[in-house]
C-alpha cells in the first residue's frame, strides 16, 4: 500500500477573483470553453508556474461533482426553443471530461487522464484515485478538483465556483515540506469554518485542503463536504516531510 504522497505544490482559484482568460488555452480553444473549463486550465497553469510540473506529461485526475452543469442547462434550454436543435460544440462541451479534454489538447498530453464524480465525496475519491495511479507506477500526478456555481433554475444550494490543483509525487523533491496520507474514513476533525460563498460547494474540502497545505497546518483534513466535527467521513492527514 502506498501510505503517503509528497506534496510538491497546490494552486487554487475562486470565483471572487473574477473571470479568467487562462493562457494555457490558445484563443481558438479558449473561446469555446465554459467558465469551469477555464478555471481548470488556470489552476493547471498556476501549478506549473509554482512547481515546474510539465502538464504535457503528468497523469491528470480531474474531479467534479456536477461537472459542466452550466453548459448542460444551456443545452436543455436550446432543446425547448425553436425546433429544439442543439449546438454541436455545446454538446461535446457538456461531457464530464470536457476540461480534461481541452487541457490535454492544449498541452499535447497524450498520457493518462480521467474525470471522476462522487457527489460530496468528490475530493476524497479524487485523492484515492491519485494514490492508486502512483501505486501503479507513476512518479507524479496532478489532481484537479473543480466545481462551478449552479445555474438557475436548478433547485440546489447556492455556492460560488472554485478550482484546486495539487501536484503530488511518490518521492520528495527539494522544497517539499508536506506529505499526504492515504485517504481513510475516520472521525472528522474540527475545521476552520469555510467562507460562506464556498460552504455549500461539494468540492469545498479540496479548497480547504489547499489552504491547510498553504499554511502548513499538519493534521487531519476532511475530504467530504457537509461532514461535521466528530462525524465519520473521508479524511486525509497532512504531515511534515521527514527530510526537508
Amino acid at each position: 500500500m502506498t501510505e503517503r504522497l509528497c506534496v510538491h505544490g497546490a494552486a487554487w482559484w475562486t470565483e471572487e477573483e473574477g473571470d479568467l482568460r487562462p493562457a494555457l488555452l490558445p484563443p481558438r480553444l479558449r473561446r469555446r470553453t465554459s467558465p469551469l473549463t477555464r478555471a481548470v486550465a488556470e489552476v493547471v497553469a498556476r501549478l506549473q508556474a509554482q512547481t515546474g510540473v510539465d502538464p504535457a506529461k503528468v497523469p491528470m485526475i480531474h474531479a467534479s461533482a456536477m461537472g459542466e452543469i452550466g453548459t448542460t442547462l444551456g443545452l436543455l434550454a436550446m432543446m425547448q426553443e425553436g425546433n429544439g436543435a442543439v449546438s454541436p460544440t455545446r454538446f461535446h462541451n457538456s461531457v464530464h471530461n470536457t476540461a480534461a479534454g481541452y487541457v490535454s489538447i492544449a498541452t499535447g498530453n497524450r498520457g493518462f487522464s480521467t474525470a471522476l464524480a462522487a457527489g460530496s465525496q468528490t475530493p476524497a475519491m479524487a485523492l484515492v484515485e491519485a494514490f492508486s495511479v502512483i501505486h501503479a507506477g507513476a512518479t507524479e500526478v496532478m489532481v484537479i478538483v473543480a466545481e462551478e456555481t449552479l445555474p438557475a433554475p436548478l433547485l440546489g444550494p447556492a455556492y460560488e465556483s472554485l478550482a484546486v490543483a495539487l501536484h503530488l509525487g511518490a518521492a520528495e523533491r527539494g522544497g517539499d515540506h508536506l506529505h499526504l496520507s492515504t485517504p481513510r474514513i475516520r472521525s472528522v476533525p474540527d475545521v476552520p469554518a469555510l467562507p460562506p460563498t464556498l460552504a455549500k460547494n461539494p468540492c469545498a474540502p479540496a479548497w480547504a485542503l489547499s489552504q491547510a497545505l498553504e499554511i502548513r497546518r499538519v493534521g487531519n483534513v476532511s475530504l467530504e463536504a457537509g461532514k461535521r466535527s466528530g462525524e465519520r467521513g473521508w479524511c486525509v492527514e497532512i504531515a511534515e516531510a521527514e527530510c526537508v
Binding site: 436543455l76 461535446h92 457538456s94 461531457v95 489538447i105 487522464s113 471522476l116 457527489g119 484515492v128 492508486s132
Partner: protein, 387 residues
Amino acid sequence: MAGYPITAFSVVNGLGSTAREVESKLFAGISGLGQPPFEPPFPVTCGAVTSDLPDLPSRLRSLDTRQARLVAASLQEILPAVIRARSRWGGDRVAIVVGTSTGGIAATESAYRTYCATGSMPSSFDLNRHHSMQASVDVVRACTELHGPGYVVSTACSSSGKILGSARRLLGLGIVDAALVGGVDTLCEMTIRGFHSLEVLSSDPCRPFSSQRAGINLGEGGAFLLVEREGDGPVSVLGVGETSDAHHMTAPHPAGIGACDAMRLALAEAHVEPAQVDHVNAHATGTRLNDRAEARAIGDLLGAVPVVGTKGYTGHLLGAAGATEAVFTMMAITRGEIPGSLGADPVEPDLGIDVVVTPRELKTRVAISNSFAFGGSNVAVVLGGPS
C-alpha cells in the same frame, strides 16, 4: 495467467434483460435495435431496453429515475456474487466504480420541460438524487450495502472501460479486496440531438466497419463485473491501457496513435505480446472516422487479427459501452466463439484487419476490448481466459 479474476458479471440492454438472453441473441446474430422508449425528434434507430424495468424497492424511491431503475435491473444477476464477496472481504473492502455519461439527465430533461411550461422545477426533482452522476453509485450502494469507496468515472464513451483500470489500481493499492464495477447509460433526448448535430447519427441500423457505414445508433443498457483479488472466474482482467489523443474534442486522431498506445500499454501491463492477441472487440461505432482510425491502430499493432464490432446489436451505449463489451468479450472467451459483426457486410476493403462478419469458432486466450471517447479519451482492456 496473472491478473485479477472477474468472478461474476451481469448485463441488460436491447438484446435482453438477462445475460443468457443477451448471449443467445448476440451469437445468433439477432439485432436488439429498434425505436427509443419515447417519441424521438426525428427518425432514429436505437438500442432501447424494451423489457419493463422493475420499480425500485420503496426504500430507494427517493432516487427513482429511469437511470436508477436500469442500474438496479442491471445489478440483479450479479447480486448473489456481490453478497458473497461482501461476506468474504467485508463491506468496506469492496469498491463501487460506475461509468456513466448520461447519469440521470433524462430526468432533468423532463423536469426542465415542466419548468418551461409552469415556471418552476417540479418539487419532486432533486439535483443530487436524480440528476447527479453519483446517484448511480448511490443506487448500487443501496442495492448491495457495500461501504467501500464509491465513485463515477465519466469520460463519455470510454467511461466503463476505464472503470476496469480503476478496479486494477484500487486492488493494487490495497485499499479494497474487490471492486464492483460497471457502466449504465439511458437513452435521452440530449444525446440523440447532440450526436445528430455532429452529423454522426444514422437513422438506419449502424454498420460498423462496413463500406456503407453512415454513423452511429445510440443505445442504453447496463453491465457490471465483479473483480476480486482472488477467486474463481474463467476470465481475468490482465491489463488496462488509458491514453489521450490530445487532438480534437470529437474526431479521433486519424493515425490512431492514442488508440494504438492504449492497446500497447494494456498489453505491456498484461505481459502479453501483440502476436498473442486472439481477437479484438473494437469500439467500432460505425462512423467513417472512428472505424478507419481504429482499424489502422489495430492493424499497425496487431496485424490482421480477427476483429468484431458489436454495436450493430446494441447501438452505442456511451458510458455503458466499455463494461458491456467487456462482458461480450468474456462471453466469446468462454464460448470459444466470436459473434459476427452485425451490419458490417460488405466490409470496407483494405482496412488491414480481419473483420469477423458471421460467428466464428475461435479459441480465445487473450482478447482486447477498446473504447474511445470525446476529448480523445482512449481505453483498451486486455482480458484473458484459461491458458
